[in-house]
C-alpha cells in the first residue's frame, strides 16, 4: 500500500550557522495545505527540501514513500513552481514546457500536446510563442505554474502561486487548486494572503523561525489553543438582555455590545460551556439569530501563535 502522505521526520537544515528549519515533523495528507508564516520562517526551505533542491542535515523526508534523493522517480510525480523568476533566455513559453517534458520520456508529439493542455488550463495560449523574458510578471507566474502541472503530477508544490495575479486569474487558479485537490492530489502552497488561505486550504501549517507552530485543520488548531479566550459573535434582537445573562456565567471574560444593538462580541474561556450556555439562552426564548466564531481564521491564529513571537 503506497503511503499517501508527505512526511517530514525531525528534519533540520542549517545554512552555515543559521538554522533554516528546526526539528520539523509533519504529516501532510492529500488536499490543499498552506504553509503560512512570516518572511524567512522557512517555507521556501521546506519546499526546497521536499523537492530535493537542498538536502537536510538531519532527519528524513518521504514524499508518498519516495525520497527526494531519488529525483528520477520522485520528479515524475512532483511538480514544483518556484519563486525564482528567472527562466532560460532562449525559451518561448511553449518551447520551455514541451522541452522539459521531453525529459520525461514522452515523444515530441506527446510532449507538445501536454504542454498545450497545460497552457490552456492557465490561459496562456496567445502568448505561448513569445519569449518568456518578454512576459509580464503575472504571465511569468503562470508559465511557472504551467510547467509544474504539465506532466500531471500527484504532488504539487507551489511557492506563493497567486503572487502577482490579477483577481480574475486568481479566482480561476484557486478553482484549479480545488479541482486538483478533489482528484486526490497533494497541493502544498505557501501564501501570505491570510484571507485566501482561509478560503482555499483544507489544512494549514504555521511556521515561525524554522519551527512548526501548528499543523492541521484550522478549526482543530484553534481548538487546541487554550491560552486565548475564544471569540464569538452572537446576533440577536435583545442584545443587552442576552449580555446581562451571559455576564453571570463565569467562563465569559468579556462581552461587547455592537453599535447596532443587534449583536454581541463574546469572549469565553471554555467553548463547551459557552455552547451549552447559548443553547440554554436560546431555549429560554431570547431569539438568537446566529452564533459565529470570530477567530476561527488564520488571521487570528497567525496573530496568536506567531504575532507573539514578534
Amino acid at each position: 500500500m503506497i503511503p499517501q502522505t508527505v512526511e517530514f521526520d525531525e528534519v533540520s537544515k542549517f545554512y552555515g550557522e543559521v538554522l533554516g528549519v528546526n526539528h520539523v515533523s509533519l504529516s501532510i495528507p492529500p488536499g490543499i495545505t498552506s504553509l503560512v508564516g512570516p518572511n524567512g520562517a522557512g517555507k521556501t526551505t521546506l519546499m526546497n527540501l521536499m523537492t530535493g533542491l537542498i538536502h537536510p542535515d538531519d532527519g528524513s523526508i518521504r514524499m508518498r514513500g519516495l525520497s527526494p534523493r531519488d529525483p528520477e522517480n520522485l520528479m515524475r510525480i512532483t511538480g514544483y513552481a518556484t519563486q525564482y523568476d528567472a527562466s532560460p533566455r532562449w525559451a518561448t513559453g511553449f518551447n520551455f514546457i514541451s522541452t522539459s517534458l521531453l525529459l520525461f520520456g514522452y515523444s515530441r508529439a506527446e510532449a507538445e500536446e501536454k504542454a498545450w493542455r497545460a497552457l490552456q488550463q492557465l490561459r496562456l495560449t496567445e502568448a505561448a510563442h513569445r519569449k518568456i523574458a518578454a512576459y509580464s510578471k503575472g504571465m511569468r507566474q503562470r508559465i511557472r505554474l504551467a510547467q509544474a502541472i504539465a506532466h500531471e503530477p500527484e504532488i504539487l508544490v507551489l511557492d506563493e502561486p497567486l503572487n502577482g495575479l490579477d483577481p480574475l486569474v486568481r479566482a480561476e487558479t484557486i478553482a484549479l487548486f480545488h479541482q486538483w485537490a478533489a482528484q486526490g492530489r497533494h497541493v502544498v502552497l505557501s501564501s501570505h494572503v491570510l484571507q485566501e488561505v482561509d478560503v482555499i486550504s483544507d489544512q494549514i501549517v504555521l511556521i515561525s523561525n524554522g519551527m512548526v507552530v501548528a499543523e492541521g485543520k484550522i478549526r482543530n488548531v484553534r481548538e487546541e489553543i487554550h491560552e486565548r479566550p475564544s471569540q464569538f459573535i452572537v446576533r440577536c434582537r435583545n442584545a443587552s438582555r442576552v449580555a446581562s445573562v451571559l455576564f453571570k456565567e463565569d467562563h465569559i471574560t468579556e462581552v461587547r455590545l455592537n453599535e447596532d444593538r443587534m449583536g454581541l462580541l463574546v469572549m469565553t474561556r471554555d467553548r463547551e460551556q459557552f455552547s451549552r450556555a447559548i443553547s440554554r439562552i436560546a431555549l429560554d426564548g431570547f431569539g438568537i439569530d446566529a452564533v459565529i466564531p470570530a477567530d476561527e481564521n488564520v488571521d487570528a491564529l497567525y496573530e496568536y501563535l506567531i504575532g507573539e513571537g514578534r
Binding site: Y15, P71, L74, L102, L103, G105
Partner: protein, 506 residues
C-alpha cells in the same frame, strides 16, 4: 530504471544543450578561435598564388643565376646579368646611429653668428653616460676666420682640479688626442686663454672615445661659454654629447624569381649587402609551421579558452542565470544530467576544434604543389591528419572535464584556469616527473610532427628547456582518459551534494 532509458535521457539532455552550444552568440567567438589558423593559412596560400602569378609575369631567371650574386656587387651589374627585376624599390633611409670608433667621440659646433672672445670655457654638466664621475676631454680646438688654424693650440689653459698630475688642463690643448684632461671636481670646467680677442666660428671637442675609450665615458651634457674679459661669460654652445648622428643611406631592394624560389637582394648605396633566397612554397617548412602553431596556439590557447567558454557555461552559467533548478527538477538522476551536459559540450567542442584542425590541415595541403601533396598523403599524410584530429579531440575531452568540474566546485573558477595555463606554459622547464602531470604533455605526445623550438626565446630560456621524451600513443590516450575519468568522478560527487541556493552574485 533501465540503463537504456537513462542513456536516452542523457541524449535528450545533450540535444537540448547542443542547440545552445552551437547557435548562441557565445559560440561565435569559439568558432572564430577554431578557424583563426585556417583563415591565416588560407590567406597565406592566396598571397603565395598571387605572388607566383606576378612573378611569372615578370619572367623567370635561371636558378643558378639567383645564387650567383655576390656581396659587394653593384646593382647595375646584377641587372645586367639577371635582367630586370620584377620588383625594384629605392628609398633613402634615415637612421640615428652612434658612430663607430674614434669618430664617435668628436663633437663639432658651428657658432653662427660668430662671436668675439678671448677666453673659451668648457663646463661639464654630466661627465658621462654611465654615471662615471670623471670628466674626460682629449682635445678642444677653437677655429676662427681661418678654418685650419686652431686658435687654442698650446695656449695657456686652466681647469678644475685634475685626476692626476699627468691629466692637467694643458693636455686638452696640445694637439695630441692620445692624452687627456681629466677631472672629478664638483664643478668641472676647462678654460683656455686665446691671448687676443678673436672671432670664434667653430669649436671642436674630442671626448673620451676619440682617444679610444668606451663610448659611455663621453661627456653626456656640457656647454661652452665665451668671454672677452674673463668676467662676463656668454654661452655659445649647449652640447648633449655625440650620441647619435643621422645616417642617410640609399637603400634599394630587388626581387627575382626562378619559378620555385624568390631572391630578395638588398643594396645599400648601390652595393649588394644582403641576399635572401626563400622557397615560394616550402611544403616541408609549412608542415613544421603547422606543427608549431598546432601545439603552441591551437592546443594551449584555442582549445584551452574554447573549452573554458563552452564547459564553464554548462553549470556555472546556469547557476548565474538561476535556471539550474529546472534541470534538478527533471526526473533524471544527477549523474545522467552531468553525462548529458558533458556529452553536449564534448560533441560541440570536438566538432568545432577537431573539425577546425582538420580544416586547417586541409587548407595547408590545398595550397601546395599537388604532386608533393600526393606523395606526402600516401606516405604519412593521412596518419598525420588522423593524429592531429585525435589530439584536438582528446584535448577537448581532457580540458572539458577539468573545466566542467571547476565550474561545479568553485565560485571563481578562473583562478585554477589561470594556474593551469601557467602550469602548461612552464611545462617544458619542469623536472620530468612533474611534466607528466599535465594534459598538454600527453597531447603533445600525440602530435605526429614535433614542434620547432621558438626561435624568439632568449638563449637563456632555451638552455633551461628540458622537454621529457614523449609518451607512446597508447600511453598518451590512456593518460588523458584516466585524468578525465578521475575528474568526472569528482564532478559526480560534487553534483550529488549540490544544493540550489541562489545568492546574489557578489
Amino acid at each position: 530504471m533501465e540503463y537504456r532509458s537513462r542513456l536516452k535521457q542523457a541524449w535528450t539532455i545533450a540535444k537540448i544543450e547542443l542547440g545552445r552550444a552551437f547557435f548562441s552568440k557565445r559560440a561565435f567567438w569559439v568558432y572564430g578561435l577554431a578557424l583563426l589558423p585556417t583563415i591565416i593559412f588560407f590567406f597565406h596560400g592566396v598571397q603565395m598564388k598571387i605572388r607566383r602569378q606576378s612573378l611569372s609575369s615578370g619572367g623567370f631567371v635561371q636558378p643558378v643565376l639567383l645564387e650567383s650574386a655576390r656581396e659587394g656587387e653593384t646593382a647595375e651589374a646584377v641587372i645586367q646579368r639577371l635582367g630586370k627585376p620584377h620588383w625594384d624599390f629605392e628609398y633613402p633611409r634615415h637612421r640615428m646611429v652612434s658612430p663607430q670608433g674614434k669618430a664617435s667621440g668628436i663633437t663639432i659646433h658651428n657658432i653662427a653668428p660668430a662671436l668675439e672672445a678671448r677666453y673659451i670655457r668648457l663646463n661639464i654638466r654630466v661627465p658621462s653616460y654611465n654615471g662615471d664621475p670623471n670628466a674626460r676631454i682629449r682635445e678642444m680646438e677653437v677655429y676662427g676666420g681661418n678654418d685650419s688654424v686652431n686658435l687654442a693650440l698650446s695656449r695657456p689653459a686652466t681647469g678644475s682640479a685634475p685626476c692626476s698630475a699627468a691629466e692637467g688642463p694643458e693636455k686638452a690643448f696640445n694637439g695630441n688626442a692620445n692624452d687627456r684632461w681629466c677631472s672629478h671636481a664638483v664643478d668641472k670646467y676647462l678654460q683656455v686663454d686665446l691671448g687676443d680677442i678673436h672671432e670664434i666660428k667653430r669649436v671642436v671637442i674630442k671626448h673620451a672615445s676619440a682617444g679610444g675609450e668606451d663610448e659611455q665615458l663621453n661627456t653626456a651634457f656640457f656647454d661652452v661659454q665665451a668671454s672677452i674679459d674673463n668676467k662676463r661669460f656668454v654661452r655659445m654652445v649647449n652640447g648633449t654629447g655625440s650620441r647619435f648622428i643621422d645616417e642617410i643611406t640609399a637603400v634599394r631592394t630587388m626581387h627575382y624569381s626562378d619559378g620555385r624560389r624568390e631572391a630578395v637582394f638588398g643594396f645599400e648605396d648601390g652595393k649588394l649587402v644582403s641576399k635572401k633566397i626563400n622557397m615560394l612554397m616550402n611544403f616541408e617548412e609549412d608542415r613544421q609551421i603547422f606543427a608549431g602553431i598546432f601545439q603552441y596556439f591551437y592546443l594551449r590557447l584555442a582549445i584551452f579558452f574554447g573549452c573554458l567558454g563552452i564547459f564553464m557555461n554548462l553549470f556555472r552559467g546556469e547557476m548565474l542565470d538561476r535556471t539550474l533548478h529546472f534541470w534538478f527538477l527533471a526526473p533524471a538522476r544527477r549523474e545522467v544530467l552531468l553525462a548529458g551536459k558533458y556529452g553536449a559540450g564534448l560533441i560541440a567542442s570536438i566538432v568545432i576544434f577537431g573539425g577546425g584542425a582538420l580544416l586547417c590541415f586541409g587548407v595547408l595541403l590545398l595550397m601546395q604543389n599537388p604532386a608533393e601533396v600526393q606523395a606526402y598523403w600516401q606516405a604519412a599524410g593521412w596518419a598525420h591528419a588522423f593524429w592531429y584530429t585525435t589530439a584536438a579531440a582528446l584535448g577537448c575531452v581532457g580540458y572539458g572535464s577539468v573545466f566542467l568540474a571547476a565550474g561545479l566546485l568553485l565560485r571563481n573558477p578562473i583562478l585554477p584556469a589561470a594556474v593551469l595555463l601557467g602550469w602548461e606554459a612552464i611545462n617544458g622547464f619542469l623536472p620530468v616527473m612533474l611534466q607528466k602531470l599535465s594534459v598538454l604533455y600527453y597531447l603533445q605526445s600525440l602530435c605526429p610532427v614535433p614542434a620547432p623550438v621558438d626561435k624568439n626565446m632568449p638563449a637563456l630560456l632555451q638552455l633551461l628547456l628540458n622537454p621529457a621524451a614523449p609518451a607512446s600513443h597508447a600511453g598518451a590516450i590512456c593518460g588523458i582518459i584516466g585524468v578525465t575519468a578521475l575528474v568526472l568522478w569528482v564532478a559526480v560527487l560534487a553534483i550529488r551534494r549540490m544544493e540550489v541556493s541562489y545568492s546574489t552574485e557578489a
